[in-house]
Amino acid sequence: MGVMIRFDRVAKRYPPGIDALRDISFEIAEGELLVLAGHSGAGKSTVLKLIAAMERPSAGAVLVNGKNVGALKPKAVPFLRRNLGLVFQDQKLLFDRSAFDNVMLPLSIAGFPARDASQRVRAALDKVGLLGRANSLPIALSGGEQQRLAIARAVVNRPNILLVDEPTAHLDPDTAADVVRIFHEFHRVGVTTVITTCDRTSFPGARSVVLDHGRMVA
């Protein structure tokens, strides 16, 4: 299996001189599930932001599928992101749109024809167990359902890479276990998955990279 993501001596410094990452190097193989573990402020989210070109490294190179995303022109960034599935810590759902429309958004952006897109949305909602709540507004969903909705939106595009930021942070143990199961299912079908968490025991069997104050410690 080839390398899907590679960090090569990456550093990220935010003004006025705060080091979020220092000299980080690691690789993630195609289809691998990697857990980025560490305490709050360790730099886990920054790693995801660098992969999604939401931030650019201050030093080193971040290669995604062989491309240096730090050197991408702004116009090329959207096309990189269309191949990524992003699940944010705060989910970033649109609360004035139904669950269906939230999941439809990435497909609209990619220009999918309405009929194909509709089928894909239903399939994604079904996968996370929310097909029956397709017309509900996110505000009417529980925390766990909102998390599953965010996952459906991330995978509806059938991305090569899934980036997930603290998916179980605010969930009760049963709901968290349910969400973890969903990620394992996506991993099993070959999606390269990077998950940040404070508790790496949530993902037993997965390789982990541990960060501490921006440094790789394990």
Partner: protein, 298 residues
């Protein structure tokens, strides 16, 4: 195909946003409609005024007075040259004797003329030019002065000059009004777009994170602004049309009192399309300027 699909989606989203705040949308369209109706109505009034003035006044003419010693051969020569000139619509010859008889027919002048030892009037031509603009008449007069046997050329175009000057002034005033109100319209759409960007900030951020290009994000706003302008233009057209219908009858009554025939014409098809297209373009411009200013900050 994807391009077309995304434009359709953007248009649908823009319509949804219009529908989502009907009162705001209606007030914006009203403001734009009134702002555009004023210069459009002003232009219409100026055009109608000019038409009425021209139709009620005699056509401007040029009088050619030949030398006193001009013989019939020279008169025939001038007549031929005038007939061949494409800038002249018509010409009328007035012989010395004819002019003398006309003056003798005027009360008060007969006695004066009777005591003169000889006919003081030269042969003359009265020329009606095809183009009665002052500049064209001046050019034609210069040309006619060069004709053999012509002694003096007199332009009967003072009123045309006055009308032309007044027309230029009124057109300039309408242009200034249009510029000011057009700027106002751009400012209205600029501000509406700013509010829309603030309201849709979450959606913009999420869309960009999910791979939306700048064009994808901007497109619904541009459609929204263009639609507002377009609807404002349609409203302005309706206002101008209604005003011309409403004012038509009273104007006709006033004109009749002055022995004139006047019918208020409204905007032509080309002018109507131009008005609506200009309004849409101004709506687009205001939105584009606002997006350039506010989208990067969202």
């Amino acid at each position: 195909m994807i391009w077309l699909l995304q434009h359709r989606q953007a248009l649908a989203l823009a319509l949804l946003r219009l529908k989502a705040s009907p009162l705001n949308s209606l007030l914006s369209i009203l403001a734009m409609g009134v702002a555009l109706a004023l210069p459009a109505g002003g232009q219409l009034l100026v055009d109608n005024g000019v038409r009425l003035a021209r139709s009620s006044a005699p056509a401007p003419q040029i009088s050619l007075y030949l030398r006193m010693d001009a013989d019939s051969a020279q008169v025939a020569g001038v007549r031929e040259r005038l007939a061949a000139n494409r800038d002249i619509a018509s010409s009328q010859f007035l012989s010395r004797d004819e002019t003398l008889q006309r003056f003798k027919g005027s009360e008060g002048l007969r006695d004066v003329i009777d005591v003169l030892p000889q006919n003081p009037f030269p042969h003359a031509f009265v020329v009606t030019p095809r183009d009665d603009s002052p500049a064209s008449m001046d050019l034609l007069a210069v040309e006619l002065r060069a004709l053999p046997a012509v002694d003096h050329v007199q332009l009967d175009s003072d009123w045309v000059r006055r009308l032309d000057a007044l027309l230029r002034f009124l057109k300039s005033a309408v242009a200034v009004l249009a510029l000011m109100l057009g700027t106002g319209l751009v400012a209205i759409t600029f501000n509406i777009t700013r509010t829309q960007v603030l309201m849709q900030r979450d959606e913009i951020v999420v869309s960009e994170l999910l791979g939306a290009t700048a064009s994808y994000v901007r497109r619904p706003f541009l459609y929204f602004g263009t639609l507002l302008g377009l609807l404002g233009g349609v409203l302005a057209w309706c206002v101008v049309l209604a005003a011309s219908v409403w004012l038509g009858q009273p104007l006709q009554e006033v004109a009749l009192l002055y022995g004139l025939s006047a019918q208020l014409t409204t905007l032509s098809a080309a002018e109507s399309i131009g008005l609506v297209a200009l309004a849409a373009a101004l709506g687009w411009l205001g939105t584009a300027l606002s997006l350039g200013q506010h989208l990067s900050r969202s």
